[in-house]
Symmetry: C2
Subunit: 419 residues, 2 copies
């Protein structure tokens, strides 16, 4: 495949087929008046092509405000393709092509980018995840089973020393992974360098006791040159992970981090709701995560089952599977799905069952910290839930002779109403 | 003001006031279980605060899919504030705070960020536009009146040499500003270095004849280190502007460009429709453009009146005014609004009248290239329309003894149905 393909779900006042032509024109050679210089040869060589059009329905009103009025707004799916020669493997320019001006066209009253088919030539020219699942397991010292993680909470307000104390306690309690909150960056109240230094001291001390160093994702989200300085510092401190807020640093920012990162990149998607919550406009996660993986994300957030967020469980699982699927025909570039938000041992079994494997990082804040027996019991309960799932035993049955699990299932009963 | 303020329009299944508390918690200290370490002192120091709640209405159904069900979805506006100490002047971390996880909360069935109040301390610590209006006018050699620009079209498909020939012709025809299309980056079919080199040769040659060098915004959108190389090249070639796709390079990418740019940054917002077209989710332009200006954008796209896009004219004008308004109480950091898309001399008067001044860049593709008398007549017609507006003369009256304008008004009659 030498063309990049994108599939959209659209609604249009001018009909799905006509809208497909307009989008193809807008996103390649077109302007509102056809110019003399736009020859047939040029169009054949450079224009976007309509590969498929499928009409699925119609509405008598537009899904989104739309300047063009019609009696009928036709709905359907379209697939467009572009020659790779126009943009090469430049991810920022690919994004401008598949997710640029098209969202504003009056010829569509709804448009969502559903999927991207990435040519191997692009996948080959992009770095992809540097560590992925295997590299993360090696650094975290977790050979098998899901990795159990937590988030430092309160999200903001703790000093560097308080954060380090908490991290040390969690490490001694047996956690695999800890992360800063996405709201904890490099502010004056808790600068990243201070926090990272004290946290790594605490983790090293804990490792003396446990024989294993918990992975800690310091949130390095910041301006580009600062992120590079943060990465150098983390490496010097012996850190094993760096976290970024994808929507804050942008696709080019992610690649800049990847190019200089000696550590796995824990990619947080806060702000994703803006890009995907509306059924009428946006980008579906299976499309966007491919670009993030190509740029180098190792861990990708996907929310969690029965979370505090509004996303349906099916979308969560589709997202998690998508980050494990090959990015192109011949390139895996697989990432590690990160489940989080309102997670408790109740969700572990259903999550792993739906995923179909245990290459997952399951993060819980309150679900670990607020275990009646304390954080160590909280972590144990998560592991027990994973063991039950692997053995094909119902989690309640398994709890009968696993008191930490029993206690968690009891404490967090409300958390699972949807799973 | 030592706190950052954000105002949102929301709809909520739990009521506007309760939703405000939930968002404030989620976006600062909170987790779904209140933790022992979240003391009252910590909350007082670090928590987001609900500054205002205004209920404006209600609906019996949720505007967006929402996990929480209610008989009544209350609508209104809320204002939240955060202590600056949490994030400092780090724009990527500010974005994660005001436009992060909140979009996914089940406690809101609609949420749009309407405005941001930026503390002076943040504005003072950010670079802001390096050239702005005055610097751009100086480099383009346009002392007064709106600057008239155009876009190289077809967007893709022309070789570097063809692009240069077109740019030279337009420069000799008297254009103030030319830009690459946002789809023309640095692909194998027309690499930026080749294109920029030939374009600058053509512009220098044209300047020998006209006595003035047209400003050309080369689209440097790419990975960070490549953009820096492109900037170095442009400077060596004597270029006077660089263009980026904001949503492709991200907020951190924009700042990285600003930090090393010897040229004004022409900021293209393609993809903006995704962020703002739905009335139920997203970010209003007056909020987002402040962050882009703080990061260093000199020129900011705002669409145009009666454009091919779906945005209503009132939103276009609000956007244009917002980029000229002070970014904070004591810091102007003003940018140049760029009007484009389907622009003809018909729109010039209404645009400048609504803006209230002529510090604007008006770009037209077909509206110049397809003028019956050719591009020079097309440019002249735009200038004549601006002169008529400045003199308070109706554009049709002015056309009576200005044949280029008359010809344009005739040719593009259909273009102005909305203005």
């Amino acid at each position: 495949m030498t063309r990049l393909q994108a599939t959209y779900q659209i609604e249009s006042p001018v009909g799905v087929a006509r809208a497909a032509e307009v989008i193809a024109g807008e996103q390649s050679t077109g302007t509102f008046v056809r110019l003399a210089s736009e020859t047939d040869d040029l169009r054949a060589r450079s224009a976007a092509r309509v590969e498929a059009v499928e009409v699925t329905g119609a509405s008598d009103h537009p899904a989104l405000p739309c300047r063009l009025k019609a009696a009928r707004y036709e709905q359907g799916r379209i697939t467009l393709s572009w020659p790779v020669d126009t943009f090469g493997p430049s991810l920022p320019n690919i994004l401008a092509t598949v997710a640029g001006n098209l969202f504003e066209l009056a010829e569509v009253s709804a448009i969502r980018l559903l999927s991207l088919d990435i040519p191997d030539s692009i996948a080959a020219a992009c770095p992809g995840p540097q560590f992925g699942v295997a590299g993360t397991r090696a650094l975290a010292g977790v050979d098998a089973g899901p990795m159990i993680g937590t988030i430092v909470k309160p999200s903001v307000g703790l000093s560097a020393a308080q954060t380090a104390t908490l991290a040390g306690d969690l490490a001694r309690a047996g956690i695999d992974f800890i992360k800063d909150d996405e709201l904890q960056g490099n502010g004056p109240a808790c600068p990243l360098p201070d926090r990272a230094r004290l946290v790594m001291q605490a983790l090293d001390a804990a490792a003396q006791a446990t024989g294993r160093k918990a992975m800690y994702a310091s949130n390095i989200t910041d301006e580009i040159t600062q992120m590079w300085r943060h990465l150098e510092l983390l490496e010097r401190l012996g850190a094993t992970c760096a976290m970024v807020s994808l929507n804050s640093i942008g696709l080019a920012g992610l690649r800049a981090v990847r190019d200089r990162s000696p550590l796995p990149i824990h990619a947080h998607r806060n702000g994703w709701g803006l890009m995907s919550r509306s059924p009428h406009i946006g980008i579906a996660y299976p499309a966007m995560q491919k670009l993030w993986r190509l740029a180098g994300a190792d861990h990708l957030h996907v929310n969690g089952l029965a979370s505090k967020f509004t996303e349906p469980d099916a979308v969560v699982i589709e997202a998690a599977r998508s980050v494990q699927a090959p990015v192109s025909g011949s390139h895996a570039h697989a990432a590690l799905p990160v489940f989080s938000s309102g997670q408790t041992p109740w969700q572990v079994g259903p999550t792993l069952a739906a995923l179909g494997n245990d290459d997952a990082l399951i993060c819980a804040g309150g679900g670990i910290m607020s275990h009646p027996g304390g954080p160590a019991a909280g972590i144990t309960a998560f592991r027990q839930a994973a063991v039950a799932q692997a053995a094909g035993v119902d989690v309640r049955t398994h709890a009968a002779d696993h008191p930490e699990l029993a206690s968690a299932l009891d404490a967090f009963q409300g958390a699972v109403s949807r799973s």
